[in-house]
């Protein structure tokens, strides 16, 4: 019983996580847009400025969490949309794992980019 309920893929966990990430993203997405379009105009952004921002640990962590939350929220939303369209059986399994792999790759690549932006070297 308990295993069934704590399973990550269960519908209610995904439903709740979708809302929790939503609350986080509302703030961070607005912040991201304000900072990089209104405070700093996009055309004036340079690597030096980006590095300066990324070297602040708080900003770096926020951006990484932003990436993870956004990827989950977006990919889970896409999956839900496809399930609502009535996709089932093998295509659904394929889509599920396909989306999971895409998410992992996106997050990994995103963190790599963020790390390079701090001025760090790739090991």
């Amino acid at each position: 019983m308990a295993e069934h309920y704590s399973s990550f893929s269960s519908e209610d966990t995904r439903w709740l996580l979708q809302r929790v990430t939503a609350v986080f993203l509302v703030g961070v997405l607005a912040f991201h847009f304000m900072l990089l379009h209104f405070v700093h105009h996009a055309a004036e952004i340079t690597l030096a400025g980006t590095t300066a921002r990324m070297q602040q640990p708080g900003y770096f962590v926020t951006m990484v969490l932003f990436l993870i939350a956004a990827t989950f929220h977006g990919v889970n939303g896409v999956y839900n949309a496809l399930v609502n369209q009535g996709i089932s059986g093998t295509p659904r399994t394929v889509i599920k794992y396909g989306l999971t792999i895409a998410s992992v790759l996106l997050i990994a690549q995103g963190i790599r980019v963020a790390w390079v932006m701090t001025g760090g070297n790739l090991i």
């Binding site: 996009a42 952004i45 896409v78 996106l106 690549q109």
Partner: protein, 129 residues
């Protein structure tokens, strides 16, 4: 009774003229959601190629920003993000069971505010062009 008439899937979206506020909110939320997840993947991809060096990074960003079409697409992206945020807040309240009677009004409010913010931001986005 041996036969019956199946009007098919066209039913769902063929009746869009009869959609109510809640259905439009759903359609727009899905649409903006697709745009945003699409943008996230593109965003990371562009930054990944740009990150190889200082000249490359500054060149890529300034090159893109020098295109008028990109500036307008940014306004579109802002509109999409703002609507998704505002309607998302509306949906969070709906999930909490708050303000269900005002669900249609809050959708219209999201639309109006989105429009206002998008139009109001045009000078900022086109600034320095």
């Amino acid at each position: 009774m041996s036969q019956s008439y199946d009007r098919g899937h066209i039913e769902s979206f063929g009746r869009w003229t009869e959609f109510s506020a809640g259905m439009w909110a759903w359609v727009l939320h899905k649409f903006t959601g697709w745009v945003l997840i699409g943008y996230l993947f593109t965003h990371i991809a562009v930054l990944s190629t740009a990150i190889q060096g200082e000249t490359m990074y500054n060149g890529t960003l300034q090159g893109l920003e020098s295109l008028l079409i990109v500036r307008f697409m940014e306004v579109g992206l802002l509109a999409v993000a703002v609507f998704h945020i505002l309607n998302g807040l509306r949906l969070l309240f709906v999930d909490l069971g708050l303000g269900l009677d005002a669900q249609d009004k809050s959708f219209y409010a999201s639309l109006v505010v989105t429009g206002a913010i998008a139009i109001g931001s045009i000078p900022t986005f086109l600034g320095g062009f």
